[in-house]
């Protein structure tokens, strides 16, 4: 199979690292060659964070090239527009409809752009806008927004649903397994 690339962007603390772990574990379990790259340390302190995942028969680079990601999974709107150059005209943007103001906006020095969703909808043919926070809240745990988004991604990529549920059981702490599975399934069922 030709190599596929998933680019995840978000804000430190949003659960992108756990999302990456669930996705890659499921892909490895299915026998793919997989590479994933993420950045730790200072960037994690509420900064912009990215995780890059590539899988296929044989993967060399853990980094995705600009214009070559199959999917950009953006956990936050600003973190989508920062990285849309990684998409090709045929790839898909999964956008969490969430606004997390950075420091400069919190202190009123800059404004959070209000036209992101309409602009992206106009520009990008394959765009899926998800309110993962609301869905996660309905599941009973707002922090499970990451699994909602993983659910949407798994459906878009045509991945095995059961493989993911099995992995969530493996990697999520027992207390939160069910809420994470529910969140994943809600994302999967969006059927977008």
């Amino acid at each position: 199979m030709a190599v596929k690339s998933v680019f995840i962007s978000g804000v430190g603390g949003q659960g992108t690292i756990l999302a990456g772990k669930v996705i890659t574990t499921a892909l490895v379990n299915q026998g793919y060659d997989v590479k994933m790259s993420e950045v730790h340390g200072m960037a994690q302190r509420g900064g912009s964070v990215i995780t890059q995942i590539r899988y296929g028969d044989r993967v060399y680079s853990p980094l995705i090239e600009k214009g070559r990601a199959d999917v950009l999974l953006a956990f936050e709107k600003l973190e989508a527009v920062r990285y849309i150059d990684y998409l090709s005209p045929n790839s898909t943007l999964i956008l969490n409809d969430l606004e997390m103001p950075p420091a400069s906006v919190l202190t009123g020095k800059e404004a959070y752009p209000q036209d992101i969703v309409p602009r992206l909808k106009e520009e990008i043919k394959n765009i899926i806008v998800v309110n993962a926070v609301n869905i996660a809240r309905e599941c009973g745990e707002i922090r499970a927004q990451n699994m909602v988004l993983v659910g949407v991604l798994a459906r878009v990529m045509d991945w095995s649903k059961n493989a993911f549920i099995e992995v969530i059981r493996q990697v999520v702490s027992p207390k939160y397994v069910q809420v994470n599975i529910n969140a994943f399934e809600r994302g999967w069922e969006l059927n977008v």
């Binding site: 790259s37 960037a43 509420g46 993967v59 527009v81 150059d85 919190l106």
Partner: protein
């Protein structure tokens, strides 16, 4: 054979386990930290956090001298700290196998510089291996130990962020216990007085020649002939993956894994068989310069940048000369999102107070480095681990010597103070410096993800350990004015600073103590909200730069999902409009 999905750092830890290492030491530093963290999980290996990289290396040298297989890991700048033992260690050599991991950070994701530590290998005269994925990271630990024992030399093991923090599939094996080698007293080998060192210098020269021969036959240095034998690319480490990604088997590749000493004959024969040779490497022209010195014509840095991280698209554009088409341009005029101090971070109030003091503030390496950013912007300088106290001392003395005066405040974390701040403070006491030195004690090595240090009361295996007392150290050094305040108590801290400003006979130390808000079970409790009837919208609270305090139009509010209840904002609001509304 079992397959697992490991980061490079986890793979190195696995390698240490499989190849019989019994001693490991490290000081945390991105991107190296997880190596020791993962080694510490193996009950078969003694593992410790050392106060700094020099101590870590020296302890590992002792373990090797005793005959055990040892590994020591650090970030690139950590090797500067450990450089003193490193250079003479090349002379003495080792007994048990000794691997020194340096994890470099091209692009400075979480570092103050992007030095290329491959240069240390020829400088210190020790062999070096560079893995290009997690499988090699694991396997090469075994090769490094073998080389180390075969040639009685330490081996430098060089990774970069994209090796250390990338995951790939690894076939793991069983542990092969290595028997401890006998220790035989040998002063001419281990005791480097000049007379013995001169002899060891000659032995070192022979060793390097033998290592070069070994490098020629080292199977991980290999040629991968491509369809096209006109173009040959010499590369190593992560750059190899980028070359294969972009060119596949279109070109011929010489993958170097032992990058010191270089296999000169192999390189020459490869260069002879292709028409044009390119060297693809991240950062410095390390391979390029050595290959050029061999009289071989290669192209390198005129095509490949020497600053920042390399990437497949750079190779595609510059080397393959393919146009990289971007369908969608990123929005440039959008707010950036730099890292910030977390909600409830005990450092926040400290910098808020310091900003009002109008002092020169020299600071240090850690989460509190973020005090440099707006809106706190209280820090004048950040250089290296431990530099805050000594730089502040030098600044103050130079001002005094030239008839100038300014209050000088230094800020250092607990882990950084124990790493290399103690000798700086000793200097300030000994030379009667009137500086104010603040130890922001959040009782953990926070920035790298909560590692213990000699002051936390726990060791690398999470077992109880003796805790060093910061105040006792300061007093023992001769600091007369030592005070301890709660970092969340802004008035107490401000009073302590004012008191220290009046203390004119030697340095003062203020230990501002409060556990990192992210430490499980140690964070504050409570939920605060803005009482909108009392709020005068002066927005002074925004000067704290707390991510939980947000503004929407004219309205200021506290995001209940972010607030952890430190109540620092309550103390800065002049109208008492921030109130406790619940428990988090």
């Amino acid at each position: 054979m079992k397959k697992v999905f490991l980061t490079g750092n986890e793979a190195i830890a696995r390698g240490a386990y499989e190849y019989g290492v019994t001693f490991a030491s490290a000081y945390p530093g991105t991107p190296s930290t997880e190596i020791l963290e993962n080694i510490a999980k193996y009950s078969e290996i003694y593992a410790e956090w050392a106060p700094n990289e020099k101590v870590a290396l020296e302890a590992a040298v002792g373990a090797s001298m005793a005959g055990a297989r040892a590994i020591v890991s650090m970030k690139h700048v950590g090797l500067n700290v450990a450089a003193d033992p490193l250079f003479t260690l090349a002379y003495t050599g080792v007994n048990g196998g000794l691997v020194i991991v340096t994890a470099d950070d091209p692009g400075m994701h979480s570092s103050q510089n992007e030095q290329d530590n491959r240069n240390f290998a020829p400088f210190a005269k020790i062999p070096m291996l560079e893995p290009s994925d997690s499988q090699e990271a694991k396997d090469l630990v075994g090769e490094a130990l073998k080389i180390s024992e075969m040639f009685e030399t330490p081996v430098l093991f060089r990774t970069t962020t994209r090796i250390s923090h990338s995951r790939s599939v690894v076939q793991i094996g069983e542990r092969q216990p290595a028997e401890i080698k006998p220790y035989v007293k040998n002063q001419e080998k281990f005791a480097m007085i000049p007379g013995f060192a001169r002899k060891r210098r000659l032995i070192l020269k022979e060793k390097l020649q033998a290592l070069e021969e070994y490098s020629e036959k080292f199977p991980y240095n290999r040629i991968e002939w491509g369809i096209n034998q006109d173009i040959g690319i010499i590369t190593s480490g992560i750059s190899y993956q980028y070359v294969k990604e972009v060119f596949g088997d279109e070109v011929s590749v010489l993958k170097l894994t032992m990058t010191f000493p270089l296999p000169k004959k192999l390189i020459a024969s490869f260069a002879e068989k292709v028409k044009e040779v390119y060297v693809v490497e991240e950062l410095d022209p390390y391979l390029e310069n050595q290959i050029k010195a061999m009289g071989i014509k290669v192209k390198g840095k005129e095509v490949i940048p020497e600053i920042g991280e390399l990437s497949p698209e750079i190779l595609r554009e510059r080397l393959k000369r393919e146009k990289v088409t971007v369908a969608f341009k990123p929005y440039t005029a959008v707010p950036s999102r730099p890292p910030v101090l977390c909600p409830g971070c005990p450092h926040r109030g400290i910098f808020y107070v310091l900003k009002k003091m109008k002092a020169v503030v020299t600071s240090d390496i850690g989460c509190y480095s973020l005090g440099v950013l707006p809106p706190l912007e209280s820090i004048d300088s950040i250089l290296c681990m431990g530099a805050s106290i000594s730089m502040g001392h030098g600044f103050k003395k130079a001002y005094e010597a030239n008839g100038k005066d300014a209050p000088v405040i230094t800020v250092i974390g607990d882990s950084t103070f124990l790493h290399s701040g103690i000798t700086s403070l000793m200097d300030a006491v000994y030379n009667r410096s009137n500086t104010i030195n603040i130890i922001v004690d959040n009782s953990i090595t926070a920035m790298t993800g909560h590692q213990h240090h000699p002051g936390t009361g726990y060791n690398a295996k999470e077992e109880p350990a003796p805790a060093v007392s910061l105040e006792a150290i300061c007093k023992a050094l001769g600091v007369e004015n030592v005070s301890v305040v709660d970092s969340y108590d802004l008035k107490a801290f401000e009073d302590a600073v004012k008191n220290a400003m009046n203390h004119k006979d030697g340095p003062s130390v203020i230990i501002a103590r409060r556990a990192c808000a992210l430490l499980k079970g140690k964070g504050p409790k409570g939920l605060y909200a803005v009482n909108e009837e009392k709020c005068k919208k002066c927005k002074i609270c925004l000067r704290l730069g707390c991510p939980a305090i947000q503004v929407s139009g004219d309205r200021v509010f506290i995001n209940p999902l972010s607030c952890v209840g430190c109540a620092v904002c309550v103390q800065v609001c002049p109208f008492g409009s921030i109130e406790k509304v619940g428990d988090n």
